[in-house]
């Protein structure tokens, strides 16, 4: 039993920390810190910086351009990126499609698409969810019918994150309507510039635009855009669902959130004293901090297990459940700490016109509301509990 990083891991941490200190531009980290939406350019700039260092495709094998890190190294990298307020890596090409192509794609597909993901030529988005098929992917309805050398796709995808920036979308489509449930689904790549595709923004609760609906009307793509076997798309979907869940607890982001709550509570006055001296509020922080300290270790325990066993187990569902609960609690505390200062709609009141509380907190209430999504998407916490019930409790 030893909770410390090895000497090698500590050296690696220092290397990452030094790299971030030198190469993460201040305007990018402040954009992250402010909590507003990042521009496409900001995300692309950051990807390019990481790619120059060879640290962009963190989970790809070395032979495809990944850094060849151990799970612990990946964890350290993510931890340090959070610590430095670096942007999250946009996952659709790098952490989702990349591994799929590496495992299921043809040599031609790998050679063509992977370098374009790395150098930023292609921005990918994900076509999984449909209206009526959220956590229940097996009931999806988007059809891809074969017509000569082409797939003809009709249907609708939704919750397509950052689809407004995307050049390509990878889709689960029904290719055999006569078989049941998961069978008869295929994994197909679609150029967003193909005629018949329409992207409509979905405005979220806090007013932001990060997800979209994507409509397909007689969209024709080459047969060769199929990844893996026809009608075996479910295998790929499952692979993606269980793949790479070590960061799922969001510990780094919760540490940012905790730091922010404390900073706000030190600046905010209540009853003539800083809010952080109010025992009831301090108790709320302390309880969340304790939960988070425990989660750090739970996360490392699962990471260690994944490293020992080669694959994450069903325990990652526990990380998802508790990780989102802790993060949401911290976002609630930030909004709560600001009190009335959290009321203005972002952009309405800022240092430019009238000083209203700490200016870097204008997105606070918005982030609280936006973050409610984390316990819903990627398999809602209810679905995660169902998974644990079956796999760990065997009920």
């Amino acid at each position: 039993m030893d909770l410390r990083y090895s000497k090698e891991d500590l050296a690696f941490r220092d290397e990452v920390r030094a790299f971030l200190a030198e190469h993460l531009p201040e305007e990018i980290s402040s954009a992250v810190r402010s909590g507003g939406e990042l521009t496409k350019a900001t995300m692309e700039d950051w990807h390019a910086i990481l790619n120059t260092r060879g640290w962009l495709a963190t989970i790809w094998p070395k032979e495809f351009g990944g850094p060849g890190w151990s799970p612990v190294q990946k964890h350290i990298f993510e931890e340090e990126c959070c610590r430095a307020y670096a942007p999250r890596i946009v996952p659709f090409g790098l952490n989702m499609l990349g591994p799929v192509l590496i495992k299921f794609g043809s040599k031609e597909q790998q050679d063509h698409y992977l370098p374009r993901i790395l150098d930023g030529t292609d921005w990918w988005c994900q076509g999984y969810s449909e209206p009526g098929a959220g956590s229940d992917l097996a009931s999806l309805k988007t059809r891809a019918e074969r017509d000569g050398d082409e797939w003809v796709i009709n249907g609708q995808k939704t919750w397509t994150t950052l689809g407004q920036h995307a050049d390509w979308i990878f889709c689960l489509c029904r290719t055999d309507p006569d078989v049941k449930q998961q069978a008869g689904i295929s994994f197909i790549l679609v150029d967003m510039a193909t005629p018949g595709i329409e992207v409509r923004p979905i405005k979220l609760i806090e007013g932001g635009h990060e997800v979209n609906e994507v409509f397909f009307t007689d969209v024709r793509v080459p047969i060769g855009n199929l990844v893996g076997e026809e009608n075996k798309g479910w295998t790929i979907a499952k692979f993606l669902l269980t793949h790479e869940r070590t960061g799922i607890a969001g510990v780094g982001f919760s540490m940012q959130a905790l730091e922010e709550v404390k900073a706000i509570a030190r600046k905010t006055m209540r009853g003539g004293k800083p809010l952080i001296e109010d025992p009831l509020f301090a108790a709320r922080i302390a309880q969340a901090e304790i939960d988070l300290e425990a989660m750090k270790i739970t996360n490392l325990r699962m990471l260690f297990k994944a490293q020992e066993q080669g694959a994450p187990g069903p325990e990652t569902s526990l990380l998802k459940i508790k990780g989102t609960v802790i993060n949401q609690e911290l976002k609630d505390l930030a909004r709560r700490a600001l009190g009335p200062a959290a009321a203005p709609f972002p952009g309405h009141v800022s240092e430019g016109n009238l000083m209203f509380g700490p200016a870097d907190t204008e997105h606070n209430a918005g982030r609280y509301f936006n973050n409610r999504k984390t316990s819903i998407f990627g398999g809602s916490n209810e679905i995660q509990r169902n998974i644990v019930t079956k796999t760990m409790l065997e009920l």
Binding site: S129, G132, G134, S135, D136, S139, T158, W159, I202, K203, L204, I205, E206, G207, M269, R270, G271, G272, D278, L280, F281, R284, Q328, D332, R335, R336, L338, G339, P340, A341, A342, A343, P344, F345, P346, H348, V349, N353, L354, F356, G357, A365, G366, Y368, F369, R372, K373, S375, I376, F377, S380, N381, E382, R385
Partner: protein, 356 residues
């Protein structure tokens, strides 16, 4: 003991609910609540015509109501419709003017829009921390300080400002033309304003105003609690409805026992919130008004968070969207915690009695 509304109040509740249901569908609310002036001036006029403001003021002040139950009836209906009209400011102003024995015909007829300036950025909830200060100047006064999140301040004609005056608190009327007012929209819809007072000319409305301010706050709390109860009712009903319609894995998700029990727990808390709001309304104006107002606001804060968060979660993605009404109900339910004292503040007020 009688938990039925009087006939008059029942009629007011029915009229108002029907009116808002017809004239103010949620799509319209979402549209007007987030664009300047952050309310619907035509609707405001119609509400005034319906007598909503008269219902909030007692007869001796020229009104036709003014009891806790009058307030809760009106605001529960407003809450059901998620109405962002600046009624709260009118209510609180009306009570202050009544305490001052001042004429309030202009308020009740809607000719003049009133807002109250109590909250400050470093004294969001506590009257005794107010830093805005009044200075005598000639026959009148000037005020210096900053009032934050003055609800309805973006369209007010007059702001009643609480300020230090000698050893106590007094209330002054400030004409918005004399002062720096920055209006803005809010996360949950509706508008407010920052009011920057810098040797601003003001008229004394009430000296020794601490009790009147406390009463206005208590009345405002009853209003907010009733508004929340109305909004929670709609949110819960919409959620239960969704559970019946939405299918997953081939069956309505309302058949999942986990969601059933969570819907029951929401209902339980809503009924508890309704009860404590009734109690606070009954005690308004009495010696225990502050105690029960604190209890109500604390419980509302807890119940509203539960209802907002659970409704979103149980809907899945759809309630995360701007287009779906529940997202706006949820925002209102969450954000009203920071009006007139939040969950923890009011819990502390209840605790204060224990040490003795």
């Amino acid at each position: 003991m009688d938990f039925n509304l009087t006939e008059d109040r029942q009629m007011l509740a029915d009229t108002l609910t029907r009116f808002l249901g017809e004239k103010y569908p949620v799509e319209h609310r979402i549209k007007v609540a987030y664009e300047a002036p952050y309310h619907d001036p035509a609707l405001w006029d119609q509400l005034v015509e319906l007598g909503v403001l008269y219902a909030l003021a007692p007869e001796e002040a020229g009104g036709m109501g003014g009891s806790g139950f009058d307030i809760s009836v009106v605001f529960e209906a407003l809450g059901k419709a998620l109405c962002p009209e600046p009624v709260l400011g009118a209510l609180m102003s009306s009570r202050i003017l009544a305490a001052a024995g001042a004429d309030q015909e202009a308020l009740l007829t809607g000719a003049t829009k009133y807002a109250v300036g109590i909250t400050e950025i470093d004294a969001p909830y506590e009257l005794d921390q107010i830093a805005t200060v009044a200075t005598a100047k000639g026959d009148g006064f000037t005020l210096s300080g900053r009032k934050s999140t003055v609800y309805g301040g973006q369209v007010a004609d007059v702001v009643l400002v609480a300020a230090k005056h000698g050893d106590g608190l007094a209330v002054f009327a400030v004409n918005v033309n004399d002062v720096n007012v920055t209006g803005y929209g809010m996360m949950d819809g509706g508008g407010a304003a920052e009011v920057l007072l810098d040797d601003t000319l003001a008229t004394l409305v009430l000296a020794d105003a601490a009790a009147a301010l406390k009463d206005a706050v208590n009345a405002g709390i009853v209003a907010l609690c009733a508004e929340a109860v109305g909004a929670m009712d709609v949110t819960h009903a919409t959620t239960v409805d969704y559970l019946k319609q939405r299918k997953q894995f081939g069956i309505p998700i309302g058949k999942f026992q986990v969601l059933q029990h969570r819907a029951v727990d929401m209902l339980t808390e809503i009924e508890q919130a309704r009860s404590i709001t009734i109690k606070a309304a009954a005690e308004l104006g009495g010696v225990d008004a502050s105690r029960y107002a604190s209890m109500a606001k604390n419980m509302i804060g807890r119940a509203a968070r539960l209802v907002a968060e659970e409704s979103i979660q149980m809907h899945g993605g759809i309630a995360m969207t701007w287009e779906y009404a529940v997202s706006h109900y949820a925002k209102r339910l969450i954000m009203l915690d920071a009006q007139l004292g939040d969950t923890d503040y009011h819990l502390s007020q209840v605790m204060k009695g224990y040490a003795a």
